[in-house]
Each structure stands twice: as C-alpha cells, then as structure tokens.
C-alpha cells in the first residue's frame, strides 16, 4: 500500500459544552447502533484484517465518545468516517511494524454467514481479490469508489460527507471506476477466464 494521504479533515464538534449525561449516553448508543456496520466495513476496505476489525471499530467509537464530550458533531457520519480512516491507517502502520501480529490473526477472519466450504472459499477469494483491487486505487478515488459502489451512498451524500464539491466526487468516482475495471481486466487475463472467479 502506498502513502496514506488523509486529506479529509476530521470535523470538529461544535464548541458546545456537554457533559456525560443519560442523554449523551443515549445519543452515543444511537450512534453505535446506526453506524457500527459502516465503520466496520470501512476498516476492512482500508486495510484492516477482519480478525481485528472489531477492535479497530471499537477504537473509533471510544475516540468518538471522548471527542463528543466537548460537543456533538453536526455530521455524525462524516465525523466517524474521518476517525475511522485515521484508526485504519494506525492499524496498518502497526501491522507494518509488527507484520506477524495482524497477519497471524487473519486466519480467524472467517465470515459469519453460513455458506458451505466451497462457497466460503469462493467468497473469501472474491473478497481478497476485491481488497487487492481497492488497494491499487489511489486514496482519494478509493474513498469515493468505496462509498459509492460498496456503501451505496449517492454522490450528493459523499460530497456532503467529505466536504468536497459534487463535481470532484464525480471525477474521482469516474477515475476510480476506470481503475477498477482495469484491474478486473488484469485479473481476468491472469485467471484466463472471464465471468467467474
């Protein structure tokens, strides 16, 4: 993986004093319930092995919990997304320092759905290929590609989340998709067949 250019500014909560109250506990609970799956998938798409994705996701919400004590963010998802990218980058750096630590645990990253062994292997292979492709896309385009093609967000929502013009989203998406198709073509050539994994 190349250099992590975390150009997305972490939205700071508004300057509103807020102490831990049952109300903030409830807001935090809703935040976890609403966005846990999203943050967890972002971890996976940005290089965190599945075996430690839950831990990384917990880190995101712990950081969010601490930050929201100074005030609640106006855009919760943007707020979490920025934290998630940083946590994912930290995990990746940690993996580079201690390569055995995360990789040794990657064996445990078996999905919890219940397909049979063959389907499971295919599913895992597809995910591994997909992650390889995603990793080959430059960071800015990758963010937009993941949010649009995997997280099903609209370009308007992405522009809002990232705080960038919608035209920029569209151009990054276009470039991200070009790179995706290029990589898929390369994989097809490598596998010697198209249309199946």
């Amino acid at each position: 993986m190349g250099h992590w250019n975390l150009a997305i500014a972490e939205p700071m909560p508004p300057n509103v004093s807020a102490s831990a109250t049952p109300d903030t506990d409830e807001r935090m609970r809703r935040l976890v319930v609403a966005h846990f799956d999203f943050v967890w998938r972002i971890m996976l798409r940005f290089g965190v092995p599945q075996a430690v994705a839950e831990d990384a996701t917990q880190d995101v919400f712990i950081i969010a919990d601490r930050k929201t004590r100074d005030g609640w963010p106006e855009k919760e998802k943007s707020f979490l997304f920025a934290i998630a990218l940083r946590v994912a980058a930290d995990k990746r750096r940690s993996e580079q320092r201690q390569p055995g630590l995360l990789q040794a645990e990657a064996w445990a990253g078996i999905p919890d759905e219940g397909p049979g062994p063959d389907a499971l292997v295919d599913e895992q292979r597809a995910r591994a290929l997909m992650d390889e492709i995603i990793e080959s896309i430059p960071f800015d385009q990758r963010v937009v590609f993941v949010l649009f093609e995997i997280e099903d967000m609209t370009t308007h929502e992405i522009a809002d989340l990232l705080g960038i013009p919608i035209g920029t989203v569209a151009s990054r998406l276009r470039r991200g998709r070009e790179l995706f198709f290029q990589e898929v073509s390369r994989i097809k050539a490598r596998c010697g067949r198209a249309g199946a994994i």
């Binding site: 935090m28 996976l44 839950e54 995910r127 492709i133 099903d152």
Partner: protein, 284 residues
C-alpha cells in the same frame, strides 16, 4: 446531477458484480455492537446480555487450541506486570477448556475453535485466560473507601456509588458478564500501555459502574492503582494498594502491590513516588 448506474446493477454473473457483491454482503459479528456499547459503559439491553454467554463459551473452546496464543496474550499484559498471573491463567484456561470438551481431547476441537475466534474478537484467548483466572482465585474482599476516591481521584460519583463495601458480604458474581468485563479491562490495559492514564481511569470507571461485583474486580483495582500512579495521583493509589494487600495478603496481586508500597511507606516516599510516576509517564 444524476448519479451514474452502479456497477452492481450491471449484468449478473460477471466478475465485476461478483467481486462487489462479496464485499457488500460483509457484516460484523452479530454481538459486536453489544460488546462496543458495553465497552463504552452504555446499556446494552438484551442484545448485549445474549452476546455474553455465547462469547464466554466460545472463549473457553478457543483456549483449547490457544496455548501459543495464550503466551502472546500474556505478553500483552501490562508491560509484563501481569505475566506471572497470565501464565498461570493460561495454563488453567487450557485445563478448563479440556474439561469442557466432551471428548476430553482439546485438540480435536481445533477447527471449531478457529472458526469461533473469527466471530468473536481476537481477545477471546485473553478472555479464556481471565475466565480460568477468575475461577481459580478465591473471592477477595475488595476495594477502598469511596470518600478517598471521590475527594482526590476524579472518579465519577456514579462509579463510586457502585463500589462494593468491603465490610459487606460479597454479592454473588455473574460469570456470564465475563466477556464484556474482559473487553473493558483489555481496553483499559491498552490505554495504560499507551500512556493514557486518564482514559484508563475512565474505562475503569465504566467497568466499575457496570460490574460493581465483577469477576475481575481485583484486576481492575490493580490496574486502577497503576493508572493513578501513572497519573501522578499516588496519594489516592496508596490507600487502595494498602487495602488490597490487607484484604488479600497472599492474593495473586500481592507481590505486585508490595512492589508499590515500600516507596510510599518511607518518609519521603510520596515525593519519590510522584517523581517515579512522572518519569514513567514521560517515558511512555
């Protein structure tokens, strides 16, 4: 501006759609949210409670194949301070798991163990260690005068209210809480290792608030003592340490606590203690 058609909406059966579909289907373990809420000290409701029994069982099975992982888990213990306890716990955990195996052959469960550990967090092994440790230790009357804490440590009142009174009969502990208990303490330990005693204390408050009669009360107390010292609050830490030693002079943490006390018992112990704590915090 209209959004372009998503790739997944393209023709079925292509590599592109298969690849995208594989990652769009991914979802975290069902109980992961409950574990995170518990970690944050927020009510988990019935979902969280349901998570616990499952995870406890999984962790015990995992331990059967995890003797090497258990060693790694021990290495993660707070800068080696808990190594002895963890190693003893790891050995016990393997024993517990063997007992739980219907065949009595722990290694025969290996595929199951590897699968379940993928569903729970990688902390399952540590959980197994803690399970064995908790079951092995005798009930230790715990804790400290709440007034001392409230006056000096900044521990939340909500947490202090839930501290057990050491003179009161100990309430029964609930082993089904163990998964979440270990998860919270694990985070606190990680924060301590990262040199963030304030966060450590906050997580310990969360632990205390949720599990006033927790299975890992003494471990939480030992961690609290260390975090307070790290935070320059040795005057708060020392009464807790003394009380723990008095209550359990031959407990699993007694040796570690004795290592803390001498510096404080000397006339200038307090300043020395503060100096050491500051140096320790700076070095992290």
């Amino acid at each position: 501006m209209t959004d372009p058609k998503r790739i997944i909406q393209g023709p079925e059966g292509t590599l592109e759609t298969a690849l995208l579909r594989s990652v769009r289907r991914q979802a975290p373990p069902a109980q992961a949210k409950g574990r995170t809420l518990a970690l944050l000290g927020i009510s988990t409701g019935s979902a969280g409670a349901a998570a616990l029994a499952t995870v406890s069982a999984k962790a015990a099975v995992t331990a059967a194949t995890a003797s090497t992982k258990a060693t790694s888990a021990a290495a993660l213990a707070l800068t080696g301070k808990w190594v002895v306890v963890s190693i003893v716990g790891a050995a016990l955990a393997v024993g517990v798991a063997r007992e739980m195996s219907p065949s009595g052959n722990a290694t025969s469960r290996a595929p199951v163990a590897s699968h379940v550990s993928g569903q729970a967090s990688p902390r399952a092994t540590q959980l197994a260690i803690a399970t064995a440790h908790a079951s092995a230790k005798s009930a230790e009357p715990s804790e400290l005068a709440t007034e001392v804490l409230s006056a000096e440590s900044g521990v939340s009142k909500r947490a202090i209210r839930s501290f057990p009174d050491s003179t009161a009969p100990e309430k029964p502990r609930d082993p089904s809480n163990l998964a979440d208990e270990v998860a919270v303490l694990d985070k606190a330990r990680t924060a301590a290792v990262a040199g963030d005693p304030a966060r450590t204390l906050r997580l310990l408050d969360s632990y205390q608030r949720q599990y006033p009669n927790g299975n890992l009360g003494p471990e939480a107390q030992l961690l609290r003592i260390e975090a307070l010292v790290q935070n320059g609050q040795s005057s708060v830490a020392l009464p807790i340490a003394r009380r723990m030693l008095k209550d359990a002079p031959s407990g699993p943490h007694a040796e570690r606590i004795r290592g803390i006390l001498p510096a404080a018992d000397s006339t200038d112990g307090e300043s020395k203690f503060r100096s050491n704590s500051a140096a320790s915090a700076t070095s992290q």
